[in-house]
Amino acid sequence: MNKKKWSLFAILLALVLVLAACSGDKDGGNAGGKDKPEPKKVDTSAFPMAVDNKDEAIKGGALEVALVSSSPFKGIFLAELYEDGYDSDIMDFASNNLFAVKQDFLISDTGIGALKVDEKNNKATVTIRKEVKWSDGEPLTIDDVIYPYEIIGHKDYTGIRYDVNFKNIVGAEEYHAGKEKTISGLKKIDDYNLEISFKELSPAIYTGGDGLWAYAAPKHYLKDVAIKELIKSDKVRKSPVTLGAFKFDKIVNGESVQFLANEHYWKGKPKVDKAVITSVPPTQIGKALKAGKYDIATSFPATEYDSIKDAKNLTILGRPELAYTYIAFKLGKRDSKKGIAIPNPDAKMNDVNLRHAFAYAMDVEQVADEYYEGLRTRSKSLIPPVFELYYDDTLEGFKYDPEKAKKLLDDAGYKDVDGDGLREDKNGEKLEIKLAAMAGSDKDEAIVSYYLQNWKEVGLNVVLTTGRLIEFNSFYEKVRADDKDIDVFQAALGTGSDPSPAGAFSPDSQFNTSRFATPELDKLLAKIDSKEALDPEVRAKAFKDWQLYMFEQAPIFPIYSRTEVMPVNKRIKNYDKDHFTKMDLNELELTADKPIK
């Protein structure tokens, strides 16, 4: 009997140990709000953007890349057709991109293509380098630059890129309707020059906007496939022909891709022999990197930072993301017939002081340090700081200041009349502010409750719409439909490489979800994309005026800017993830046969 008991005990003990080992130190960030735990902030500005490896490189070698994703990738490898970020991450290794960018994402002339803009006549000329070859050895010609326009503009094209920008090209709509065989605004000058006529030009042209398309497509290879069949064809899914440093070799659908060095690459054949990209579930990525299974992880989730921060075999690169998280107030409704936002003067949040108080009451700094370990920081402006020219660094932002919030509310007439510790509105009626927020990781729940407590401390009664966090699809449906149970909502916004706010803030935009619209705003936005703003200084000034106005009015205010983390194995040499990168993948080298453990 004794023996049996012991064996049982041993098994249970073993199990408990294994379980304990697995749960590890994951529950570190349990800040309920009251007992403030010690901040464990990292200084994200200290993250380098490039690796600094002085070791001697080996010859060749295979680069192992992890694509962090919880679902299989879609495998549409053509820039004109893909819709999924993971496909784009994969394509980066064999990119058909024509243009390189410099500071502020302006197109430079260091890429395959150069851009010359004729502002007066609304024309732009794309010039491609001679002697550039596709991965199958065929030369790149200007027809390959024209072909993408014919794909996107085609009537059988079902993707999202036939949009308002694309229609800005003269003749695009006629071509789409099938009236014309070609796009009249595209004029082939010779084998290396293409002149594009636009209906209108804005400063966005310099960052690849206004309808300019930044990729080439191998016409000699794709022309036999009908546009309708293109997305399903093997030429797109199984054996794409490309321009980038690497070329597709083998593809296991949804799981992995093997690239070989492209001997035709115009900047020279890459120094490593091959690169293998494998889809890795987020739950495994920390472990896998530490175990030396991969050299680089793309789309590394910030929530997994904890699992790799102490790893000795990794260099952690960081770069600012072109996105921010924000809080927006519902200040009106969208009239879908007229297609404009109609402000509602009686909206609950239609008081600048209330909005400011709401913002000052949020202890964003604490949350950023505690829950995001500094990977997110208080954002002060609706323009990410990467855009040095446009970012207004004089803005103070809404630094956490509960006393100021209280004072603003007192002065504006939001007072606690019935003595329950919560303020009533100006008419003495109960004030209940409904906040909609998206469900995501388990952190989100804790963070939102912390903010709810913040607001309570200044006397604002904020509750969650539907009583809990909302699933992604429902959230956007509710926000877009101007659901009556939403007074405030929290969401995130990516700016892309052209930070023009018109798309997200102009009164006639569907994405202006706060439905804030004033004549001043109209004026400020128009200025940013106007013809005068083709002058960078005028545009920079216009951006700053707009940022200041948005700070003062606060229909929406940014809370965090994000830092994208990229763990890289220590055997990687010559690798640079700067947005305006100078170093290309063909220069990448390895200093050991296998990733360092």
Binding site: K4, K250, E255, P281, Y476
Partner: protein, 320 residues
């Protein structure tokens, strides 16, 4: 019996029809649509609207349903919105992955569970019996994802014996031995996890049945005729004790295509369970409806198969 089988198959038609109607309407009730996830400030809302109109999302539901059902009857389930391939191709690919995984899992499962069940039943209250019962309780109590994670970290990283994600190593060409072995190698860890977790029911059924059968008159008769005890077990008791397991066998066969969301997600294994979950969150209607129809059909076939198997194993049961 043939008559009954045919009748059962005929009844499936209205059953599947009702299912298709329900799933179609419910899928449309979900907030959002396949294009919601594509929207960023860089996308043009008018273009999205155009795509919605092209996809027919603004037509009355019965028109959409009619369009879908007439195509579906011809075996045409449309294209997946997010993968942009034919739904049949997509399900074929993922289904095959899942099928191999399930086949291996179920084989391992029976290979573990049947001997354990027999030993536990035959030597009731012995030490092995107690250990087996303990094992089956533990495996029953452990949530799938916990064991999957433990195994993954132990045998994928701590002692890197098995590959940790995917179905095959990219460097092998299809059709070669290396490719085949790589596929099997990738299946092993998830299959073992799955098998260990699924054994409880079979062990418990088999054990109780054997314990009950031991006291049956036919066993006593057989023993009194002088048949050796081991023969009584293999010839008489075992066959009778398998009945309740046979009752599920039809479902087991058709369930091979179901897939396990947890196992597939943790092991990064692109199979049916994951496809289903992803399709739901991406509102990939065509995939959702096709999968539910397939699962519904398989369940119906599974119950029919189970009945047929029962009637073969147990001659007392006749389908009338």
């Amino acid at each position: 019996m043939w008559k009954t089988i045919i009748r059962r198959i005929l009844i499936m038609i209205p059953q599947l029809f009702v299912l298709s109607l329900l799933i179609f309407i419910m899928a449309k009730f979900m907030p959002g649509d396949p294009f919601t996830g594509l929207v960023t400030p860089d996308t043009d809302p008018n273009r999205i609207e155009e795509l919605r109109i092209q996809a027919g999302f603004y037509d009355p539901w019965y028109e959409q349903y009619y369009r879908w059902i007439t195509n579906a009857l011809q075996g045409e389930f449309g294209d997946s919105y997010s993968f942009q391939v034919k739904v049949s191709t997509l399900i074929g690919e993922r289904g095959l992955n899942t099928l191999w995984l399930s086949l291996l899992s179920v084989t391992l499962l029976y290979a573990i569970a049947i001997p354990l069940g027999i030993i536990a039943g035959r030597y009731q209250n012995s030490l092995p019996d107690k250990l087996i019962v303990l094992y089956s309780f533990i495996s029953y109590a452990i949530p799938t994802f916990v064991l999957a994670l433990i195994f993954l970290f132990l045998f994928g990283y701590q002692y890197p014996i098995f590959p940790t994600s995917g179905t095959v190593d990219v460097q092998y060409d299809p059709g070669t031995w290396g490719y085949f072995w790589s596929k099997v190698y990738h299946l092993l860890l998830p299959a073992i996890t799955y098998a260990i977790l699924g054994t409880t029911t079979i062990i418990q059924y088999l054990r109780t049945e054997i314990i009950d059968a031991k006291r049956m008159d036919y066993v006593k008769t057989a023993r009194s005729k002088g048949i050796p005890i081991s023969k009584v077990y293999t010839k008489h008791i075992f066959r009778n004790s398998l009945l309740p397991i046979a009752a599920f066998f039809g479902f087991t066969i058709t369930g091979l295509l179901g897939g396990s969301v947890f196992i597939e997600t943790i092991f990064g294994f692109p199979g049916m369970g994951q496809l289903f979950i992803n399709a739901i969150s991406a509102r990939d209607y065509s995939v959702i409806t096709a999968l539910v129809m397939l699962f519904g059909f398989l369940t119906l076939v599974g119950s029919l198969l189970s009945d047929i198997i029962m009637s073969i194993v147990d001659p007392r049961i006749r389908i009338e």
